[in-house]
Amino acid sequence: MSTSSSLKAAILSVVLLGAFLGAWQLAVGGTGSSQAMDPEYAALMGATSKGASAMPTPLDIGKEMWRHISDPFYDKGPNDKGIGIQLGYSLARVLLGYLIAAIVAIPLGFVIGMSPLFYRALDPYIQVLKPISPLAWMPLALYTIKDSSISAIFVIFICSIWPMLLNTAFGVAAVRKDWLNVAKTLEVGRLRTAIRVILPAAAPTIMTGMRISIAIAWLVIVAAEMLVGGTGVGYFVWNEWNNLSITNVICAILFIGLVGMALDQVLYRLSKLVTYAE
């Protein structure tokens, strides 16, 4: 039953993809014209897009994707690095900022969740800081930190901290009273209660926060790298846009999506490990 319905879904997915690619190919292939363009612009386009249209066909994208995949790690100077290297830079920044955020957010969330006093004292700050777009921090980060790469990491840190902090605090505060009472009647110390009872009880909620955070961090890194430049997949997109290589921009978009999905899958697997059925 479920295997046949998931097979059906898979077939439908492929059909939709085929229809989409077909429509794209028809819309772009051969019909477009560069006549309406500004002559200078058209000349520029002609140099890169070798065809009748600025918009590449799915086939062009496929070829370009294959080129990227078959040689992802080449390095020919600052403006020409393989997509693998660029993604690697972005991933390293995201993971570093995210890990630091987790190291700060989870213990702090624990304290907030366990102490209503702390919760009320910190709540106004959290409410103000949470809705700030992480990119708004960028100038301040660049000014104080000076290093653009570390600034990007700081922005990742700032945007990933809130979901983890709030979910940890919520998960810890919502631990069932019964379980805490069991620990109390067994005269279990505070630290052991935190590790053996509260942490596993709150783990699924904490993991949900971590999943939200990694998704936000991956969204933000592209924008941050467009601003700071130098390396990373965000810079790559911006650089290819300046080269007017729409093909490469689309390739990069696809890679960003794939890596984002992979990150989410990894955290999904991890969260499966800590969920429990009641």
Partner: protein
């Protein structure tokens, strides 16, 4: 004080802030009773009269608004491994296996024990409640009765001086409840475990209890009377109804639950809360005790 007394409850009261603001709601006050070593005491009362609240105070999880609980001559100030609790809703940790749930309690009691010794000790109690083979299952994979048994094994495994049980069988079907009651009877007679148990099942109280405390309805609930079980020890569930005193016991308790728990609410004047009347329902008594009939006027 009687040398044999293990728990003494003196003038215990508990009130909560009223939900609509302004003043307090007194769940119960002026509770006086005691429990002897090796005794099995049941507490019967209607839902909401404060039974769980009382048990939490005995466990040390909750603090009374007035009065004291004395265990072994000392006033209690908090929870203790000497008093194990079987909670109303089993309260097993769902992320731990059966073995790990019990081992968590055992290592809390004996932190220096080796892993092998803890395992062996846990296994003994898992076998005792007939859960052999379910050691590695998670609570979600167990039936309600099995979960409740793990809760009992966890409480027994720390070898407490006192077992406090909050309606441990109320969520179970009659058949499972019966077999678990039999297990508790055999364990408690074997180990002479001092037990304080809440129930609202009359037959359960008659089977298990040496004495039964009857609590009036709240708010301001009291211990209305103490019923001494007139059926001799060594009671067997299937033989219970054959004893001549059984119906006297049963009718007395039933009558209390159906009508008198409400009539006696707020307690009648002229009855000293420190010495609730003791009754011994026997065959041929015919209805409620004369002493109480007098006190109801």
């Amino acid at each position: 004080m009687d040398l044999n007394t293990l728990i003494t409850v003196e003038g215990l009261a508990r009130s909560f802030p009223a939900p609509k603001g302004g003043g307090n709601v007194t769940v119960f006050d002026e509770l006086w009773f005691d429990v002897a070593k090796g005794e099995f005491v049941c507490l019967i009362g209607h839902s909401g009269c404060g039974k769980s609240t009382l048990l939490n105070i005995l466990a040390g999880i909750d603090k009374p608004s007035g009065g004291v609980v004395i265990v072994d001559g000392k006033e209690i100030t908090g929870p203790s491994l000497d008093r194990a609790v079987v909670f109303q809703g089993h309260a097993l940790m769902p992320w731990m296996s059966v073995m790990a749930n019990i081992a968590f309690a055992v290592t809390s009691r004996w932190p220096k024990w080796s892993a092998a010794k803890v395992r062996e000790h846990c296994q003994h109690y898992i076998d005792m409640v007939n859960l052999t083979g379910a050691e590695d299952k998670k609570p979600a994979q167990l039936s309600g009765g099995m979960r409740q048994r793990v809760g009992i094994a966890r409480a027994l495994a720390i070898e407490p001086r006192i077992m406090l049980m909050d309606e441990p069988f109320s969520a179970l079907d009659a058949l499972t409840r019966g077999s678990l009651q039999d297990e508790v009877v055999s364990i408690c007679t074997k180990t002479r475990q001092t037990t304080f148990m809440i129930t609202h099942d009359i037959d359960e109280a008659i089977l298990l209890a040496d004495r039964i405390l009857l609590m009036t309805n709240g708010p301001e609930a009291r211990v209305a009377e103490i019923v001494v079980n007139t059926l001799p020890k060594g009671r067997v569930r299937n033989e219970l109804h054959k004893h001549p005193n059984y119906y006297a016991m049963r009718n007395h308790l039933l009558d209390f639950l159906v009508s008198r728990s409400e009539d006696l609410r707020g307690m009648v004047e002229g009855v000293d809360p420190k010495h609730p009347p003791m009754v011994f329902p026997k065959a041929g008594d015919g209805g409620p005790q004369p002493t109480l009939a007098a006190s109801r006027t």
